[in-house]
Amino acid sequence: MTTAEASLQRTSTVSTRYATFMSRHASLVPTFAAVLILLVLLVGAQVQFENFLTPGNLSALLLDNAYLVVLAVGLTLVIITGGIDLSVGSVMAFTGILCASLLSQGLPAVVVVPIMLLGGGAIGLLIGVLVQYFNVQPFIASLAGLFLARGLAFVVSLSSIRVEDPAILWLQRTRFTVGEWYITPTGIIALLVVALGAVVMQWTRFGRTIYALGGGEQSARLMGLKVARTKILVYVISGVCGGLAGLLLTAYSGAGYPRNGIGTELDAIAAVVIGGTLLTGGTGYVLGSLVGVLVYGTIKKIISFMGAEQAWMQIIIGGLLLLFIVVQRVIVARSQRRT
């Protein structure tokens, strides 16, 4: 056997392996595409600006988008069940301003943080109950949550409140450094949420029930899965994530502001979709959403490097969203043809 033949055979097995892998893991393709786009963006930016891929810059990427990572994780769970949560941005603003207001009244951070998480969870619970027990479409139920949280944020305070609590500011100011790399406690929290989300989705009964629910609610119910409980819990988790994001954002900006996060729900949805989660439910990965947020953050950074108008941000994100929707559509159409 000549070497040429051997190599030919190897490439053919590689390609068949690739084909089998792709057909078995078709749902991973959009996430791979997102990783690819992230790499292209990073390398392209490095070629263009030369000082882009510095440890400081990359560390800042996580720091600047920690709140969005947390929101995206919660939203991923909701979207995989086939629902949607529009309230996340408003919940973040509400809990953020609540945190600042309570701290300024002299309450210690140990009390305030659980209140924030509970506040977010309560709004999530409201949405979940409306969706599950009153058959309200998730879009409308979470719309009510959006209005409620946004209004409550303004009820707490009409203007921004500075935060001077050392414990909250510690989350942001502390930097654990390795060489020139650094990570703040906010970044660690965000990564922990991602890790927790990924483990729960992959290896727990609850996580698998979420996938089953998104694949077909009727089938999940007939299989004897606890549909009602899971569905409500998913919205509660998203609300708690909103509360946690409020904490991270408050620490990041050093103040609570009731106008924070207008339109953040759209950024979060875009990040989740770019990360490869199908809006129809059933497929998606928490880690993919992390990649989606990083793509979002990198584009933002590139735009600020270019000194271009921030308006381009919205246009590019819109365009990317479209691209991913088309990619997903093709994949879904293909897998339907196969079955």
Partner: protein, 348 residues
């Protein structure tokens, strides 16, 4: 009596009338309409005028929702059309000229039409879920508007342009007349031709209606185009009212209020049956509620809380689960009261 109560516009009308009654009791001048120089003034007239942009957007939304769709991009389309119109007026040598304003308005509407067609293309021909397809433009549209205004809030002083929003013709606000024309046109198109029935058919069962020979694609496509056009008009009204094009604030949350108005009016988000009169009443309820909240001295920024409560009450009252639960409750009471015949009579 039972027929009136059963009518699907009964509860929206009751809500609107009770809001007006509450307002009139709280401040008697609310109901009054004064005539000055042959022009009507008063709180009710203000509501009619201020509701015009929302009315236009909600009308379009009704048709889109009837086809089982949704259009999230209306606020962004408003921002773009306002930005286009004001940038043209701002850049022209004669901002006061009627010709300039006409060109600006026509161009803005043409752009809105293009944006509407884009949505229609994605949904009807691309077959993409409406929420996501219109989300693209919702995100990108404001960026486009910001690029048009170059990141600034363009302000202009143009009497003919302001006239569109604050002027009067035959004693009535122009904005209200524009909304009225839109309502009439749409009602005639949808209810005096087969278009309305076909739209409902597409919304109730797309596959069956296609098999029955309905051109579902064309109907869905034109629904988004119409919504884009109406949102464009709304953007012009909005920017004429504040005499400025603010790419971020124009039409913020209007898609949500428009959806709320449609749902309040009794059109189901599941698609199919729709009612234009219901949407009109829904918009008026929202505008009256807004005016009530302002009158109560609540800061405008806090008003979403009230709307959240309204949304929750409306969806819970409409939900079949609650109806089933109430019926069960009534039945169990009835069976418990078999010894007391008078009470049974009351219950039935």
């Amino acid at each position: 009596m039972k027929r009136i109560v059963r009518h699907r516009l009964f509860w929206p009308v009751v809500a609107l009338i009770s809001l007006i009654v509450i307002n009139t009791i709280a401040r008697p001048q609310f109901i009054g309409v004064t005539v000055r120089d042959g022009e009507l003034y008063g709180a009710l007239i203000d509501i009619l005028r201020n509701s015009a942009p929302l009315m236009l957007v909600a009308l379009g939304m009704t048709i889109v929702i009837a086809t089982r769709g949704i259009d999230l991009s209306v606020g962004a389309v408003m921002a773009v059309s306002g930005a286009v119109a004001l940038t043209i007026i701002d850049g022209s040598p004669d901002p006061e000229g009627v010709g300039t304003v006409t060109i600006a308005v026509v161009t803005a509407l043409a752009v809105a039409l293009v944006l509407g067609s884009w949505n229609g293309f994605l949904v009807a021909i691309g077959g993409i879920q409406p929420i996501i397809a219109t989300l693209v433009l919702m995100l990108a549209g404001r960026g486009v508007a910001l690029l048009i205004t170059e990141g600034f809030i363009t302000t202009v002083n143009s009497a003919p342009y302001s006239f569109i929003s604050s002027g009067y013709i035959v004693g009535l606000p122009v904005a209200f007349l524009i909304a009225a024309v839109a309502i009439t046109t749409l009602a005639l198109l949808e209810r005096r031709t087969a278009l309305g029935v076909l739209t409902e058919a597409v919304g109730i069962n797309p596959a069956a209606s296609r098999l029955a020979g309905v051109r579902a694609r064309g109907i869905v496509f034109s629904a988004y185009v119409a919504t884009g056009l109406l949102a464009g008009v709304a953007g012009i009204l909005y920017s004429a009212n504040i005499r400025a094009a603010d790419a971020n604030a124009t039409g913020q949350f209007i898609e949500l209020y428009a959806i709320l108005a449609v749902v309040l009016g009794g059109t189901s988000l599941a698609g199919g049956k729709f009612t234009i009169a219901g949407t009109v009443i829904g918009v008026l309820i929202i505008q009256t509620l807004e005016s009530t909240i302002l009158f109560l001295g609540v800061p405008a920024a806090q008003s979403p809380v009230f709307f959240a409560i309204v949304v929750i009450v409306v969806v819970v009252v409409q939900s079949p689960q609650l109806h089933a639960w109430v019926r069960k409750l009534a039945r169990s009471r009835q069976s418990a009261n078999t010894d007391a015949p008078q009470k049974v009579k009351v219950a039935s």
